[in-house]
Symmetry: C3
C-alpha cells in the first residue's frame, strides 16, 4: 500500500510553535521539523542531516536557521546548507524543505511534489473560528492504528450510540444495551465533491437523545438531529452535529462544529488532532468542564482502545483483505477508502 504524499496534512497546532517551540514529528513516514522562521511564518524541513542522518530537531535554531548538533552544519528555511564548518557549504548538502501553511489554527504541510502544493486545496476548517473561543475543547492522541481505521470511526458516527452510550445518555436509554435504537434510522446521504466526501446523517421529527433534548426551546416537541461530515483524503474531517426544532430554520439550531484530523504517522500509527466548539451554553463553565471530561474520556478510553484492538486483530493482514461484513452504516467509510485508493494509485503510477 503506502501513504499519500500529494495532499495537505495537519502537521500540528499553530500554537505549538509559539515562544520558540518546535515540532519534531513523523508525518506519512517522513521525519519533519517545524519551527518559526525569523518573519514568524512556519518553516518545515526534512528532520535529518544529510551528513550522518542526525535529527536536526536535536540542534539549535537561531535567526530562522537550524544548526545540526552533531557536526555544526547550518540550514536555512529552504533547506539550503548555508554553513559547513569543515569545508564548503556545497549544494549537495541541501535538504528538502516543505510547504507549510498556517490556517484555522492548524499547520498544514505538503510532503509531495512541490509543484502540486495548491493552497486552494487546503481543507476548510473555518467553521471552528465562527464559535467563541471559550467553548474550545481540543486534544491530541497518538494511536497505534492505521489512520483509515481512525477515519472510519468518524465517518460512521453510529458507533457513538453504543461505544459512547453513557456519554450520549439516550432518551430511550436503559440498562440493556440491546434495546438501544440508533439515533439515525437511515444511512447517511453521501456525496463526492471532487476528492472530498460529504456525509449527512439526519433524523427528522424524532425524539432527540437526552443531551440534545435539553438544548431545545421545547424539549417535548419533535426535533431534527443532524451530523454532517466533510472528509478530506489527508484524513482531516470537518464535523457539524446539532439539533433543531422540527420545522424551524436551522439558524436556530444548537450545534457543535468540530475537527477530527487523522494524520498518518506511519502505516500503523496515527496522529489524532481534535477540536470541538459549540454555539450553546457558551458561558456555562461547569458544563464546559464536564463536556471536556466526557469527550476526552470517550476519545481516549473508548474510541482509541477499540480501534487499536481492531488494528491488533489485523496484524499482518489489511482491513479489506480480512473481508469485513459491510453494513449500511459503512457507506461513507467505504467510499472514502475507494477515493483514497484511487488517489494513491494515481500518485504511485506517476512516481514510478
Amino acid at each position: 500500500m503506502g501513504l499519500l504524499k500529494n495532499i495537505w496534512y495537519v502537521a500540528g497546532w499553530s500554537d505549538e510553535l509559539a515562544d520558540g517551540g518546535t515540532i519534531a514529528r513523523i508525518i506519512a513516514g517522513e521525519p519533519i521539523l517545524l519551527y518559526r522562521a525569523e518573519d514568524g511564518s512556519p518553516a518545515a524541513l526534512h528532520d535529518e542531516c544529510p551528513h550522518r542522518f542526525a535529527p536536526l530537531s536535536s540542534g539549535w535554531i537561531k535567526q530562522g536557521k537550524v544548526q545540526c548538533a552533531y557536526h555544526g552544519l547550518i540550514f536555512d528555511r529552504r533547506g539550503r546548507c548555508v554553513h559547513n564548518p569543515h569545508g564548503t557549504a556545497v549544494s549537495a548538502l541541501d535538504i528538502r524543505s516543505y510547504d507549510v501553511v498556517e490556517r484555522d489554527d492548524f499547520l498544514w504541510i505538503w510532503l509531495g511534489d512541490p509543484a502540486g502544493a495548491d493552497i486552494m486545496s487546503i481543507p476548510d476548517m473555518s467553521m471552528l473560528a465562527s464559535q467563541p473561543d471559550q467553548t474550545l475543547i481540543r486534544g491530541y492522541l497518538h494511536a497505534a492504528a492505521h489512520h483509515q481505521l481512525m477515519v472510519d470511526n468518524i465517518l460512521d458516527l453510529s458507533h457513538a450510540d453504543y461505544l459512547h452510550k453513557e456519554a450520549a445518555r439516550f432518551a430511550d436509554s436503559s440498562d440493556d444495551p440491546s434495546l438501544i435504537t440508533p439515533r439515525y434510522p437511515n444511512p447517511p446521504k453521501v456525496e463526492e465533491i471532487g476528492d472530498r466526501l460529504s456525509v449527512k446523517w439526519l433524523s427528522e421529527r424524532a425524539t432527540p437523545i437526552e443531551i440534545w433534548q435539553r438544548e431545545l426551546p421545547d424539549p417535548s416537541a419533535d426535533a431534527d438531529m443532524f451530523s454532517e461530515v466533510v472528509w478530506y483524503p489527508g484524513g482531516a474531517m470537518a464535523l457539524l452535529t446539532g439539533v433543531n426544532q422540527s420545522g424551524k430554520d436551522r439558524s436556530a439550531a444548537a450545534f457543535s462544529p468540530a475537527v477530527h484530523a487523522m494524520t498518518p504517522e506511519t502505516e500503523e500509527t496515527t496522529h489524532y488532532f481534535y477540536a470541538v466548539k459549540r454555539n450553546y451554553r457558551v458561558d456555562d463553565t461547569a458544563y464546559h468542564e464536564q463536556l471536556a471530561t466526557t469527550l476526552v474520556d470517550a476519545f481516549s478510553n473508548q474510541d482509541q482502545p477499540m480501534i487499536e484492538a481492531q488494528q491488533r486483530r489485523m496484524a499482518r493482514q489489511s482491513f479489506m483483505a480480512k473481508k469485513p461484513a459491510l453494513l449500511s452504516i459503512d457507506v461513507a467509510a467505504a467510499r472514502a477508502r475507494r477515493i483514497y485508493d484511487r488517489l494513491l494509485l494515481s500518485e504511485q503510477s506517476v512516481a514510478t
Copy 2:
C-alpha cells in the same frame, strides 16, 4: 509449521466463568471468547465481530447473547447474528462458535472441524478428582515459549534433579551438583496408545530422594519411586508421581496426581495450567503451604525462565533445525514430537 486445530485444548478453568466471568484468550492463534450461556453451560465464540473485527469480549453479555460494544450487533451462543440495529441480521454476519465441554474442572475447546469434535477423545484428568480438595495447588503461567518446549520439560522429568535440586532435596545431596545421581537410573518405558503417549519412569529398590523418604512407613528400607505421564497431543498431560515400599502393593503408595496443560497461544507463546493434589499429609496445612510455595517457585522461577531462554536461543530457527543432541532422557519428548508432526501433517493435508 503450524498448530493443531482438530484437538481438544484446555481453554481455562471451569470456575473462571463463575459469577458472570468471561475469558478472552487466544488459543492456537484463534481469539476466543468464553462465557456461560443462560442454562449455565459454557459457550465459546470467535472473539471478533465480522463487521469491523472489534473484540466481542469488549462488549456486553445478556441472556446468553453477546453484543458488540462498537456498533451493537448481537450474537447468540451458536454465533448466529440475531440483531443488527442498522439493518437485517443476515447470515453473512454469523460468526464461528466452538464446541466447549466442561470436565474435570477444565474447559475443553475444539477449534477444528466440528464434525471431528468427539467428546470421547477429551483427555482424562479424572485422577485429580480422586484426591481431597484441600490438597489442591494450582496456577496459571503465560510463557514466552513454544508449547512443545514446555511439554518437553514435563516429558523429561530428569531435569528436576538439577533445575529443582534444592526443592527435591536429594538423599545424596551435597554442595556439589556434579555429584548428583539422577533418581531414575534408566530411561522411561514409552508406549503409544492411539495418539497418546504413556511414559513411565521407575526406580526400583532404591534409596528414595529425601522428600519421598519421609512419606514411607520404613524410611530406611528399600523403596520404588515412580513417575508416570500420559501425554495428549493438545499439550495436556496427566502425571502420577510417588513412592512405594519395595515389594508392597502400590495401593499403599504415597503419591501425587497432577495435570500440566500446555495450551499453545501462538507458535511462540503458551498458556500453562497446572494442578497438583496428593494422597499424603492431606490435612497438614503447614506442609501444604510450604509445598505450594516450593512448586510455584519451581514452575515460575526455574522452569519458565529456563524454557524462555531456550526459546530466545532459537529465535528464527526451530528447535529441530538447530539439531539438538539427543540423550536417553529425551525418548518420550522426541516421540511426542513425532506424533504431533504426524497429526499436523495429516490435518494440514486435509485442509489443503
Copy 3:
C-alpha cells in the same frame, strides 16, 4: 552484511572475572560465557548446551568446569563434555571453546577460525598502563546502534566541538553555536598500517580550547593541540589527545590516553567499553571527580542518544545505502569502513 569473526574483540574487563565472577555476553552474534579456569586464566565457551540450548551461564562452575543447570551435563574449558549423568559423554556433546587472552586489563576473544588466532595481532592498549591508576575513568554502555556508527563517532572527533560544546568550553565559546570554530582547522592525516588505521589531528600554533589552556605552562603563548587514534577492525581504538606549548618537545605535553572499544553485540547493538587516563592533575581528586562526571555525561547523554537516533533513522536501510554526504572530517571513518568491508568480504569468501 555480517560481522567479522576472525578478529580479536574486547569481551570485557579482566576484573569482571574476579572473585568467581562470570560474563554472559553476546559477541558478534555468538552467546559467550567467560569465567576463570582453575589456573586463574580466562576461559570462553559457547554459552549454549548442545542438548537443549539452555544457557550454560545459568549453571554452576566448579573446578574450572561448567555444569548445565537443566540436565547436569558438564563441560571443561576446552568445551569437552566430561560428564553426562544420563549416559556416555560422547564427543557429539562437545561444544565450541574460544581463544581468550587477558591483556591491558581487557579480555580479548577470537570467535573465528582458531588457526588464525595470532596473539601478536591483539590490539595494543598498553599506553593506558603508562599513566597512574588514580586517573582512571572507565565505563560500559550498551548502545542500540551498529558498532560502525559508534566507531565513526570516535574517528571523527570534530563532533566534540558541537555535541560536547559545554564540556569542551571553547576559548572562543559564546552563546551562539553558529560561531564555533572547529579546533582542528584541517582534516586528519590518515594512514593504513596493515589492517589498522592511524588517524592524526593536529592544530599548530593555535589558541587552545579552554580545557587545555589551563594545563599549559604559559596559557597565553601559542600551543599545539593533537588527537591521535589507532583503529583496529574489531572496533577497539587507542586514543591520545593532548596539548603542547608550540616548539617544545612533546614529552612536556599534557595528554590523556584512552581506549574506546566498540564490540558488536549484534548488527544493531554494541558493547561500548571506555577507559581514560591522564598525565596531568594526577592527584587532583576534585578535578578527577568533575572530569569523570563530565565524560560519563558526554558519552551517555550526548553521544549515545545521538548515535541511537541515527540508527533509528536507518531502520531497514544500511548507512551507506542512504548515501550520506561525505565531509572532509569523514576521511578516517570512510577508510575504516572500507577496510572492514574488505576483511569481511575476504572472510566470507573463504567461509563459503
